[in-house]
């Protein structure tokens, strides 16, 4: 049984291709009797429409692209889940692209999205990205773009983010309340919106308490071993930090490893809070106090926003900005053990 096309299906029914096409779409122009017959024959003859022919003709691909730095971070796994859950209800397909946190890669991927391959793009930008030319260009070609989580500020592109500043502040105040005198902030890159905002919240909390935040924000942009070495150096330095705010979950793991290796105890010697969705936070040694982002919900919200724009291209959503709050979940790594909001 070889694959047949709509014309052959039509012929086998003594109908025209356009009638069949409309019938399959349940068009009001077609009689019920015909629809029945067409559906039955399509089923029986195992007809599968060619999506690319349809895309070419309709200039709609029924596909979106998701561009993210990586997929290993639990946040992005959860976000993909959220995105998929919406895409599925819309009958859309999801292409995944990884920038590996490189601007050059990201740019090429976005460039490719201009081809018409996708109807919209969800993007969490790389740590190296400082300009949104590429995204704006996409939009100028009528392909809607939505930022999720990692965005570029002061830019009229719709975005779904979390309350990074507040959470940076809350996390830091939590450490201060737990007795930290010299907390530091572990950042990935100062150009990365989420790090910058979280760091600002951190700095503000220090200032409120009369601590000068200068030199307390540390960029951890090396590979895993380099970061661990850097943290060890920090822990062995004369002015040793007694608290850490990790801007992404990986950095928290590295603090755990570094402390273990040089025999420093969490939370007695140092305390730590991490921005993280890691599932194992409660069973780490010690359990990890986290600022947990609503990753699934953010993915869902971003996808919803994107589809709103795909379905109604005339809407100007460029200033749309959805902020979903993260939650501080206090566990043992910061010395506490209760849940507040």
């Amino acid at each position: 049984m070889k694959k047949l096309n709509i014309r052959e299906l039509a012929k086998s029914l003594g109908l025209s291709a356009s009638t069949v096409s409309k019938a399959l779409k349940d068009s009001y122009e077609i009689s019920n009797a015909t629809k029945q017959k067409v559906l039955e024959a399509a089923e029986r003859l195992d007809y599968t429409p060619n999506p690319y022919a349809s895309s070419l003709r309709k200039k709609r691909s029924k596909t979106i692209a998701v561009i993210m730095p990586e997929v290993a971070d639990n946040f992005f796994s959860l976000a993909i889940n959220g995105i998929q859950s919406i895409a599925k209800t819309k009958g859309y397909h999801v292409l995944i692209y990884l920038s590996h946190d490189k601007f050059e890669h990201e740019k090429m991927i976005v460039e490719d999205c201009r081809s018409g391959r996708v109807d919209g793009v969800l993007i969490s930008i790389s740590g190296e990205t400082t300009s949104a030319e590429h995204c704006l260009k996409l939009r100028s070609e009528k392909i809607p773009v939505v930022f999720f989580d990692r965005e570029l500020e002061n830019l009229d592109i719709p975005k779904v983010i979390t309350n990074d500043y507040d959470c940076g502040n809350t996390a830091t105040r939590h450490l201060l309340e737990r007795g930290c005198k010299n907390p530091v902030f572990l950042s990935l890159s100062s150009s990365l919106s989420i790090c910058a905002k979280r760091a600002k919240g951190f700095a503000a909390a220090l200032c409120e308490t009369g601590i000068n935040p200068e030199r307390k924000i540390i960029a951890c942009d090396g590979n895993e071993d380099a970061v661990i070495a850097e943290i060890k150096k920090l822990l062995l330095s004369s002015h040793r930090p007694d608290g850490f705010v990790a801007s992404v979950e990986r950095l928290a793991f590295q603090v755990y490893i570094a402390s273990e290796e040089i025999g420093i105890k969490i939370p007695d010697d140092i305390k730590i809070v991490a921005f993280s969705t890691v599932e194992t936070a409660p069973i780490l040694n010690p359990s990890l106090t986290t600022i947990t982002q609503p990753a699934f919900q953010m993915g869902r919200a971003a996808a919803e926003l994107l589809f709103r724009n795909i379905e109604k291209p005339y809407l100007d959503l460029s200033r749309e900005r959805i902020e979903l709050p993260s939650k501080l979940i206090i566990r043992n790594s910061s010395g506490g053990n209760r849940v507040i909001n």
Copy 2:
């Protein structure tokens, strides 16, 4: 500057569309001078070819599908990375689909792949899947399929797997060596190849030691809370297990939580080994002994196999079977603390 097509690009150069098409493909039929001109103009006028027109004509989509049960398990995140790394070198795009471990979903997704949307499919089957009709049908329509990790045995479909039986055996023997008298195996579903094979290895290890493996393989197919409750019940029962082999990482976490909640100590009261790629294994409380699968490499190998078949459809790869070994990494949850192979 509106989007132009190949004909317009050609016209602006005083050439025909076909010449331009060939030039862009660096065809030997075209003079170097012309190629130069075409490339320059394409760049200058910002020409982007329409991939769907090309797909329609060439009957090649330059896209593959990856179907997996979920993306939250770290294994799949790593596998996606491996798959992407190959797809990128081939200039291929990657569509991600999640079956949420439901056969019905999986079937619909596979069904959709028959449309020509993709040139090949990588699939890790759902826990409910017991027949590969849907996959065989795909292949009968000349769309290559490769199983990765979760497969169906005794089926001539190329596959990339790990040494599940051996590892189930090794893990169990490790527990027995560490003094366990009553180990149990936590399975997801007996129909799932990986669970079945790991369980067989487990049972064999028990038999070798003269322990009857009956009723020691426990299906944990409920939701998170149900599984935790089940494990607690087990831990409070008269014939309490003193060792656990967790067939997937999630189950190990649930053992940790259950033990914590009823005050049972790992590794003193019970020992545990888990099939897992979780990054936090070394910093869990206690650190988790794992059988770690080469997830990235498996993704890569599966993609390579798939592309081999896409590029040479006449090859019969149906009996191809790549087995990449997993590694037992001994940590504290099983009482040990050294690395063997």
